[in-house]
């Protein structure tokens, strides 16, 4: 609207009017309009007053046009009111439905329609389509008069197909294959299953983020001079797809030359600071190692009392031998204190759940490194979509206020899991998880599961990550598991129990767990079934006649204490490429209850990337376990280990067996070693992301539990011989989770072991 200011020329200097009249208003009372006019009848006013009145009337957004005119001694205010929206209609939209669009736009029925509001709503609709991947969508707003200064607002929308990404190519990369680089970025090529994920849709913001990911990847692999020369996305109009080309300049691969610490702090001997550095001369240059060293140095130096320390690295390249000499400058930074930590945006999470992630308190020295550390910790909680920590000036020059703004995300998951493995068939699981229960940062999970053969599981678990205000994750689990009689064991088990557990981090890779478990299991064998004598012993049958004359049932209580030590530096859970995982666990059963034994198990794995170009990863796994009891009948068949493909692939079940009924009897001791080479399958499966693997396993399980051994009339096949196999697997990281198919050729086995060449399973086991 353009206000017109028509004043007779003579009124340039001060003038007065005796009254103000309003014309053209229908819905808005004259008194309201006059209240916005700064001219007071009988008092002088100038052009400035008129201008101000004009501004304030327009600011209300109620008027399409306003004009002020002096007629004699009357100030005439003529207004044209903006129309009122009767309804907002979207036409031609299929991909995004009406209700979704109406939440995006601000103009809604009964609102006053203004030019600017229509423009910004049109932009909002276009933005919604952009985020949905449709860059070629067009939106045309139309106004239809419906009388009484009311108007219908119709948005005519022309959508068109999603602009997918058909090919991503890299130019200038020698060190790493296109496939490897595609893995490091998030934009994907449209492939067979692209309808499942939206990552294959062209999105410029994601492309910028990918440039940064590429840079960070190269900088951590020694390419200090790496540059993304260009990232170009050309739209092919006919097929409506994008071709994305990254042109990169890798530059040489650097190693660390000599590494020095140059400190201006007096009573500090740099010599004893070198131990915290992660950048050793001769290592391949790695920017993330430099960042970690800066953090470690800052924390180490501030522990000597220099809280305001500032560590700045400088790298000098020497082109001759492609090394970078690194110098860490350690000096006193600005002396500023944190005055307040103000947390906002936490409409669900409680204040202390956020505040406790800060290692410093209000009134402490301001240290950038500790702020970044808190930021990383908050992001790792998984409660927030975004965490932004900004600083602003406090009440004094040396005081800083930290503003922690969080945007929460839904931390509740309702997931439906389908698992399949040839050993236990199809299993279904329904689970509800809440990771930020009642905003207290507590984890709650309830799950119900079932299989085809009457397997039923009910699980509930709760964890408080900061028990007693310390970094102690304490919690409890409750479960009830019914497993029906399947081909290899004729009895049914109903196990009900729970555990109290507490986990304490020793360092950030090593943690120690302690838990008390109570399990009440009932073993039932129906009348008329035939089973191994060991099973008859389990269910408390008086004699060993089979088929059994009556139903037998035996209830057994196991009350045990377990400690666990877990060391875990695995880089990525679904496709590990580097790092170690080791779990040592010991359970002592016998604090009351029937079972009495000490069970110790070890599971250790190591992963190493042999060649980043071929994406070839070697891994070794060592397993061992033993259960021992100080009292012969403290152990029953169920306390032994039952091993199969999880020890040596190619076996359904191996180890001690009842010679006549061929039931597996379990063993008190097992050991196994397995090596695997796992690689990305190039070309054909590039789009879907299938990996191949070759492996060799060896292992043994022997010596059934004592009470089974001395059952009269039970002939046991048992040798502590090595079973071995070699084989190949296909691993697919499908959107449904990791799926794996193994084919194993058995090299050595006992005649009574039960082999199984092919095995298919879903879900990563860690």
């Amino acid at each position: 609207g353009n206000g017109t200011l028509s004043l007779t020329p003579t009124a340039a200097q001060a003038a007065t009017v005796s009254s103000i009249q309003v014309e053209g208003n229908r819905r808005i009372e004259s008194s309201t309009i006059i209240s916005y006019v700064t001219v007071i009848p009988g008092r002088n006013f100038g052009a400035r007053d008129l201008n101000e009145s004009l501004q304030s009337l327009f600011a209300t957004g109620l008027f399409a046009d306003v004009s002020l005119e002096r007629r004699g001694n009357v100030l005439l205010v003529q207004v044209v009111e903006n129309p009122v929206v009767r309804q907002v209609v979207f036409e031609g939209n299929r991909r995004i439905d009406d209700s979704a669009l109406s939440t995006v736009v601000q103009l809604e029925p009964r609102r006053v329609l203004t030019e600017s509001a229509v423009q910004s709503d049109t932009q909002r609709i276009l933005e919604a389509y952009r985020r949905n991947g449709r860059f070629a969508a067009r939106v045309e707003p139309k106004l239809i008069e419906v009388g009484d200064n009311r108007v219908d607002l119709v948005y005519e929308i022309e959508e068109d197909e999603r602009s997918g990404v058909s090919r991503i190519t890299f130019i200038g990369n020698q060190a790493f294959s296109d496939g490897k680089l595609r893995d490091t970025i998030t934009t994907e090529q449209s492939g067979l299953l692209s309808f499942l994920s939206s990552a294959d849709v062209y999105d410029p913001d994601r492309l910028d983020a990918d440039r940064e990911r590429l840079r960070r990847f190269y900088l951590s692999e020694g390419y200090a001079d790496f540059r993304v020369v260009s990232a170009v996305a050309e739209l092919d109009r006919e097929q409506n797809v994008f071709f994305i080309t990254f042109t990169v300049d890798e530059g040489p691969r650097y190693q660390f030359g000599n590494v020095e610490i140059d400190s201006t702090l007096r009573e500090l001997d740099p010599e004893d600071l070198y131990s915290v550095l992660e950048t050793r001369p001769g290592d391949t240059y790695d920017a993330t190692a430099v960042d970690r060293s800066i953090e470690a140095l800052t924390i180490e130096v501030s522990s000597y009392g220099y809280a305001f320390v500032q560590v700045r690295p400088r790298g000098d390249r020497n082109a001759a031998d492609n090394t970078i000499d690194l110098t860490y400058f350690v000096d006193e930074g600005v002396r500023a204190y944190v005055e307040r930590i103000d947390i906002s945006g936490n409409t669900r999470t409680r204040d202390y759940v956020i505040r406790r992630e800060f290692d410093f308190a209000e009134g402490d020295a301001f240290n950038r490194v500790l702020v970044d550390r808190a930021q990383r910790r908050l992001e790792a909680l998984g409660f927030f979509e975004r965490v932004r920590i900004t600083t602003s000036q406090g009440s004094a020059s040396d005081r800083i206020v930290l503003n922690v703004q969080v945007v929460e995300q839904s931390t509740g998951d309702f997931s439906f899991g389908v698992g399949y493995s040839t050993t236990s068939g199809v299993t279904l699981e329904l689970s509800v998880t809440e990771r930020n229960f009642l905003g207290r940062g507590q984890y709650v999970r309830a799950a119900v599961g079932g299989g085809l053969d009457e397997n039923r599981t009910f699980d509930f678990s709760f964890t408080e990550p900061y028990f007693l205000g310390r970094r102690l994750a304490a919690g409890f689990d409750l479960y009830r598991r019914e497993s029906g009689d399947s081909d290899d064991n004729a009895y049914t088990t109903i196990a009900t129990g729970g555990a109290l557990r507490i986990v304490a981090p020793i360092t950030n890779d090593l943690n120690f767990g302690l838990s008390y478990g109570l399990d009440v299991s009932e073993y039932d064998l129906d009348a008329g079934s035939s089973a191994s004598r060991a099973v008859l012993q389990l269910v408390g049958a008086p004699d060993f006649t089979t088929p059994t004359a009556a139903n037998y049932s035996n209830e057994r209580v196991t009350s045990s204490l377990t400690w666990t030590l877990v060391y875990d530096t695995i880089d990525n859970r679904t496709t590990p490429r580097d790092g170690y995982f080791a779990r040592l666990r010991q359970t002592v059963a016998g604090l009351g209850g029937d079972a009495e034994y000490v069970q110790t198990t070890l599971d250790a794995r190591a992963f190493r990337t042999l060649s980043t170009d071929l994406d070839l990863v070697a891994s070794v796994r060592v397993q061992a376990g033993n259960v021992w009891s100080w009292d012969e009948d403290g152990l029953l068949i169920v306390d032994g280990f039952f091993k199969g493909a999880d020890l040596v692939r190619g076996f359904d079940s191996l180890g001690p067996r009842d010679a006549n009924t061929l039931d597996a009897l379990g063993g008190t001791t097992y050991a196994g070693i397995s090596g695997e080479l796992n690689f990305a399958l190039p070309y054909i499966t590039e789009a879907i992301g299938i990996r191949g693997a070759v492996f060799a396993d060896a292992g043994t399980l022997f010596d059934p539990v004592g009470s089974v051994d001395n059952i009269a009339g039970l002939t046991v096949n048992d040798d502590n011989s090595i079973r071995a196999s070699v084989g190949a697997s296909l691993i697919w990281n499908s959107p449904f989770g990791p799926l794996r198919a193994d084919y194993a050729h058995v090299l050595a086995s006992e005649t009574y072991d039960r082999e199984e060449a092919f095995r298919f399973s879903a879900g990563a086991r860690f």
Binding site: D98, I144, R350, D351, G363
Partner: protein, 259 residues
């Protein structure tokens, strides 16, 4: 394919009944207590007859109906629209009160972001500033006091958090915010006692005494003053009262009080 919505807006039939009939129907629905339906009927009247005198009344009654059916965002929108369209209307103060009260009813507990509390206070202050002689000024002042009490409560919560961890500087300064800026709230007594506890823990006994003296002078018979007095007398030797067995502390650990 021709979109089925082409004539969508044509079938929007204007409710041809005169505004008076629609208004009475909506009024009756509201009196029956069916606030959600009444809100919709008032909105529809305003949509069809925006220029009728009834539109003004139905805007404020619509706001009230949304408010009573707990739909606070809608109540705020309706209330705000009334105040901008009819700033000097006779129901303007009431509409502003509905806006403020809608924010007030969404105030979360002290552990969480007090943004709604701040919005409620500003809305009540607008009411007092714009309509100084309206009958809602009294209740508005009352609600401001409660809302301030909530803001003070959130400062207290952080103060106790730092006291538990013995970050005395952080704790003292948080309680001083309550003492200096929220003197009219109920928390000021406890805040003073916490300052005494802080200084006693650091051994700065004379500062603890001044804080206790301020507490005793202003709130002679408050139980917080008793506690400060006992702490000073005993020099803190025998514990105030033991905070329960290890189990109760552990339980508190679970419910988050312990941290």
């Amino acid at each position: 394919c021709a979109s089925t919505e082409a004539d969508d807006f044509a079938d929007f039939v204007d409710d041809t009944r005169p505004p008076a009939v629609m208004f009475n129907e909506a009024l009756a629905t509201m009196e029956r207590g069916d606030y959600r339906a009444a809100a919709e009927q008032f909105d529809e009247l305003e949509q069809v007859h925006p220029y009728s005198e009834y539109a003004k009344r139905s805007l404020v009654l619509g706001a009230f109906s949304h408010f009573s059916s707990g739909r606070y965002p809608e109540a705020v929108n309706a209330g705000r629209r009334y105040v901008t369209l009819h700033p000097s209307g006779e129901d303007a103060a009431y509409a502003q009160f509905i806006v403020a009260q809608s924010y007030y009813n969404q105030i979360p507990d002290v552990n969480r972001d007090q943004e709604q509390t701040a919005r409620a206070i500003n809305a009540f202050r607008d009411l007092i500033r714009r309509y100084p002689d309206s009958e809602y000024v009294g209740p508005a002042q009352e609600q401001i006091r409660f809302a301030n009490d909530q803001l003070a409560g959130s400062e207290m919560r952080v103060g106790r958090y730092y006291l538990d961890r013995r970050n005395y500087v952080a704790s003292i300064n948080r309680f001083r915010v309550v003492i200096e800026e929220y003197q009219t709230t109920r928390h000021v007594e406890e805040a003073l006692h916490r300052v005494v506890e802080n200084y006693m823990s650091m051994g700065v006994v004379d500062e603890a005494q001044t804080a206790a003296a301020v507490l005793g002078h202003n709130f002679p018979d408050s139980e917080w003053y008793q506690r400060s007095y006992r702490l000073l007398q005993s020099g803190g030797l025998e514990p105030q009262e033991n905070s329960g067995s290890w189990i109760s502390r552990a339980f508190a650990g679970f419910t988050g009080q312990g941290s």
